[in-house]
Every structure is written in structure tokens, then in C-alpha cells.
């Protein structure tokens, strides 16, 4: 591993996911205080706050770093507020990491929280016919599940995936989430339950698709030097990938109408989703074989299968075999989404990539009661935000 690029995770915390109907600020602050307690530190010890923004909660959401700082009490600390759709949390983490590695601060707090509307995500308000995110609803009626369904159907056409394979992902994640006190849904689900739920965007059914949730997650980070005074073997952030695509992007991506053209410029060596994890492995100096568990962005059950391949946990076309064989369940070869994943949480956009790191931290410390991956020493998260935001974090101990 590249030891000079590592930082420590001193504390992690969440506000449970759900539909609480309160302000995102409350979720963020409760998560932050939980992370501070976990770290054994107080607000006074924090020098830098990186907030992951929410764009559906007015001005306070655009300046999350300042909003959380003011709610904790103005004390002159420096802040940043960033946005990268579903990758916002990883961006905030990356911004805080660089401040620490640069020696500009010793201890930083990263917070993301959201209050979400019900139902499908819709484009932000107003009549905006220049915005692809508006036009895709108008001209195509293409919702987020539409795109997830195109990928799912592609797996069926190419690799013979079935609706039951997808359902197996839900069954596994629901089982993992049973033991997670921060999960929104804590209920066992059977293949029959999934198959009996109404089809949203064929072949995906209601139980194949993640809900939208309220929630908050926070991390207290420090330099390795600071951490080692408190803990001889702290959990470390070994890599953060925030790469963008390489032209031409030949897989259709939400919310676009088309891919780039490969007629003049040849496609890159690695497609975008493969490149996200690759950059993280490269930065950490390890490979897929060194990974004990993964938290991947299961916006749909089928998408989780794609991520297995994108992360190199198996070869292309083999993901169905992994889920069928139980390789990615807790107790299997490389457990995926031991937290229960988005399937058990629902998505709280700016909090989600941070929550993935919380789970890996608990796992590497051996604190994931009821869902513990035994002896885990390295885990990876992966995720992708609209408009070209890669997000992958490697956590090790």
C-alpha cells in the first residue's frame, strides 16, 4: 500500500435511514455527533468540515459544510461543500483527505444527509428544456428505473440472467440488513416476494429497485500520526477514486439520450464503471484478490451484479454464478453489501457513499454485530453519480 497517502478513520456515525420528515440538518448533526462520540472527540477538536450537498433542500443544502458547522456552533473552522450526485459523499471524503495529507489540518469531519421526496426522483423545478435531466422525462418518460432496467435486460440478453437471479440479490441484502440498526427495512424477503411485486420497469420489479430515504452519515478523519497516538492499528482510507469517464463513453448513462460516438475515437481500454474501481486499486496498490468485502451501489438488484464484474470480483458474465453460489453473502468468498445495501436502506444521496465507508469501518473493527465478515482486513466501496462521477473507496486495517 502507498503508506504516505493514507489517513485514519477515527469515528463513524449515522442517523438511521427512514422517512422521518425532518430537516436534513438534524440527520447530519446526529450522525456527526455519533461519529464524534465514536472517535472520543468533541466538536472543538474538529478543524475542517466537508459537507456533501443536497440540491433539494434550498440554500442550506447547497452549502452543507457551512450549514452543519453553524448547527454545531460557529467556531472559525474551515469548510467545503461539494456536489457530485450519488458520488457526493466520496467527493467530500476526498476533499477532506487532501486537506489532511497536505498538512492543512489534522482532524476533519465529513457529513452528508438528505431529506428526500416521495416516489421517483424528478428533475429539479422549473421548465428547463435545455437540461437533459428535464428532457428525458418529457421526451421519453425515462425515469431512473428505466436506465436500471436497460442494464438488467442487457444482462438477460447477454448472459442469460433471470428475474430469479436478480431476486436473489434482494434476498441476500434483506437478510444482511436484518441485523443493521441503521437500516430502514429490516424484514426477510423471499424470491417469491420479489417475483410477486409489481413490475416497475421490465424486468425490474418493485423489490428490485431501491427506495429513496432520509438519512445521515458522518466520518471523523485524521492524519495517521494523530490517530496512532490513540490507536495502534486504526482503520485507514487506503484509496479514493473520483475519476470521470474517458471519451467515448459507449454505455448509455442516466440521464443521457445517447452514448458518445466511437466512430472516430476508439473506446477506452476500460469502460467507465471498470475504471472507477481500477483507479482505487491502483492507488491502494492492491487488487481484487486482496478484497475481503465490498459495499456496492445496488440502485437495482441487477446493478449489483454488474458491480461484481466492474470490481473484478469475477469475470464478465459470471456474476449470476456468484450470487447463485452464495459467494457474495456473509459467510461466502467475498461478501457484498453486508450492511444490507441500498436494498435495506433506500438511497439518501449525499449520505450514501459515506454510509458505505461507515459499514466497512465497523466490519474491519469487528463491530458489525449479526452481519460480521470474519477477519476482514480490506474492503472496497463503489458507486457512480450522474454526469460522470466515479466513486470508490478502499478501507483497510
Amino acid at each position: 500500500m502507498n503508506n504516505d497517502k493514507q489517513i485514519a478513520v477515527l469515528g463513524v456515525g449515522m442517523h438511521p435511514w427512514g422517512k422521518w420528515g425532518r430537516s436534513f440538518v438534524e440527520y447530519g448533526i446526529e450522525a456527526a455527533r455519533a461519529a464524534l462520540r465514536d472517535a472520543g472527540l468533541s466538536w472543538d477538536d474538529i478543524q475542517y468540515v466537508a459537507g456533501a450537498d443536497t440540491i433539494r433542500n434550498g440554500y442550506p443544502g447547497f452549502i452543507a459544510g457551512a450549514t452543519f458547522s453553524q448547527a454545531l456552533g460557529w467556531k472559525g473552522n474551515r469548510v467545503a461543500s461539494c456536489y457530485a450526485a450519488c458520488a457526493s459523499g466520496a467527493q467530500a471524503l476526498n476533499i477532506a483527505r487532501a486537506q489532511i495529507l497536505a498538512g492543512l489540518c489534522d482532524v476533519a469531519l465529513v457529513v452528508g444527509a438528505d431529506t428526500t421526496p416521495k416516489g421517483f426522483f424528478t428533475p429539479v423545478g422549473g421548465d428547463r428544456p435545455d437540461d437533459p435531466d428535464w428532457l428525458r422525462f418529457r421526451l421519453l418518460g425515462a425515469t431512473n428505473p428505466t436506465y436500471f432496467a436497460l442494464y438488467a435486460r442487457r444482462r438477460m440478453e447477454l448472459y442469460g440472467a433471470t428475474g430469479e437471479d436478480f431476486a436473489l440479490v434482494k434476498v441476500k441484502n434483506a437478510k444482511h440488513g436484518l441485523a443493521n440498526p441503521n437500516a430502514r427495512y429490516r424484514k426477510a424477503v423471499s424470491i417469491e416476494d420479489v417475483m410477486a411485486s409489481p413490475t416497475v420497469a421490465d424486468p425490474l420489479r418493485l423489490l428490485d429497485i431501491c427506495a429513496t430515504s432520509d438519512g445521515g452519515a458522518a466520518l471523523v478523519l485524521s492524519s495517521m500520526e494523530y490517530a496512532r497516538k490513540r490507536d495502534a492499528k486504526p482503520v485507514r482510507i487506503a484509496a479514493i477514486s473520483t475519476v470521470t469517464p474517458t471519451y467515448p463513453q459507449t454505455i448509455i448513462e442516466m440521464p443521457n439520450f445517447s452514448t458518445d460516438s466511437a466512430a472516430v475515437v476508439a473506446p477506452p481500454e476500460r469502460a467507465f464503471r471498470d475504471a472507477i474501481g481500477f483507479a482505487a486499486y491502483e492507488e491502494a496498490g492492491i487488487g481484487p484478490d486482496d478484497i475481503d468485502l465490498a459495499e456496492v451501489y445496488d440502485l437495482s438488484t441487477a446493478l449489483e451484479l454488474d458491480w461484481y464484474e466492474n470490481l473484478g470480483l469475477c469475470k464478465e458474465g459470471e456474476a449470476e454464478r456468484l450470487i447463485r453460489d452464495g459467494d457474495t453473502a456473509v459467510g461466502g468468498r467475498v461478501p457484498v453489501n453486508p450492511s444490507g445495501g441500498l436494498a435495506s436502506f433506500g438511497e439518501a444521496i449525499p449520505a450514501q457513499a459515506i454510509a458505505q465507508v461507515c459499514e466497512l469501518t465497523w466490519q474491519l473493527r469487528g463491530q458489525a454485530d449479526g452481519r460480521q465478515v470474519d477477519g476482514a482486513t480490506a474492503g472496497i466501496t463503489v458507486n457512480q453519480g450522474l454526469f460522470g462521477h466515479g466513486s470508490s473507496v478502499i478501507v483497510s486495517r
Binding site: A149, Y151, I252, S258
Partner: protein, 150 residues
């Protein structure tokens, strides 16, 4: 009752006249790369500084890359055309010459059960929704009849 005026639901994305409607894209004058929707600012090829583009009609035929049925009514700005909502299919279609994939609704009457990856489709212009005075048009994909006996 006078006929409604037929207008595109979005300006400049496709031709509406003639037997052979087509999507309108651009081709970079510097590097030749295609773009859809039409590029008007900067060529997306990172190796190219081009800012001038020729309008081009894209291939009218392509092959299905993937597809889905939308079974729930999408939120606004989608405009529903029936109550209760009727599911419709959307396909991602590969255009061979341009080497890009374009989304479009399938024409009414085609469902996922009719589709397989690799099938040939062609572009038509059809009604997206209507109001009292206008019929708003959009491009859609239609399966190409293979001529095989029914």
C-alpha cells in the same frame, strides 16, 4: 373539427417531414466525431478543439442494444396520454455508422415480449402527446418487418 398543428416536442432534434424522418446530430468539422443531440459548443473529443459542426441526419436504422417497459406513469414533465396509464416500451438502439446508442420509445403496440437484443429497428415520427391545438411529435423506434411469413 380542424386538424391539429403538428409540432416537434423539441426543436431541432429530428426531421418531421418526408417519408424518411431521421434524428439530427452533428459532425465535428475538425475531427469528424458524431454527436446526438446536436453539439453547438465544444467538440467532446478531448483531443479536439473544434467548435464548428455540420448538421447530419443519423442512420435511420439500428439494432436493439437493450429495452424495457415503463409500467408506472413517470412524473412531470412527462405528459400522460391516457388515464389509466398504459405501459410503453423504451429501447436503446445502436447505430452502426455512427457507433453510438440512442434511446427512444417504441411505437405503441410493441412490448418487451416482442423484442430481443440485435433486432433491427427503424426510426419513425409519432405523437408524444396532444393539447387542444397541437400534436407534439417525437422520434420512436419501430421493428423492421423481416418479410418472414406470419
Amino acid at each position: 373539427m380542424p386538424a391539429k398543428t403538428r409540432v416537434p416536442a423539441v426543436e431541432g432534434w429530428f426531421t418531421t417531414e418526408g417519408d424518411e424522418p431521421a434524428l439530427l446530430g452533428t459532425r465535428c468539422r475538425s475531427c469528424g466525431t458524431y454527436a446526438f443531440p446536436r453539439e453547438s459548443y465544444f467538440c467532446k473529443n478531448p483531443a479536439c478543439d473544434g467548435r464548428e459542426f455540420d448538421d447530419v441526419a443519423l442512420s435511420r436504422r439500428g439494432r436493439v442494444w437493450s429495452f424495457t417497459n415503463n409500467c408506472y406513469q413517470p412524473p412531470p414533465p412527462f405528459v400522460p396520454t391516457s388515464d389509466p396509464f398504459e405501459p410503453f416500451a423504451i429501447a436503446a438502439v445502436e447505430l452502426a455508422d455512427e457507433q453510438l446508442v440512442v434511446l427512444g420509445q417504441m411505437v405503441p403496440g410493441t412490448s418487451v415480449d416482442d423484442l430481443k437484443a440485435g433486432m433491427d429497428v427503424e426510426l419513425v415520427v409519432d405523437t408524444l402527446f396532444e393539447d387542444d391545438e397541437h400534436e407534439y411529435l417525437v422520434w420512436k423506434w419501430r421493428l423492421v418487418e423481416t418479410g418472414a411469413p406470419a
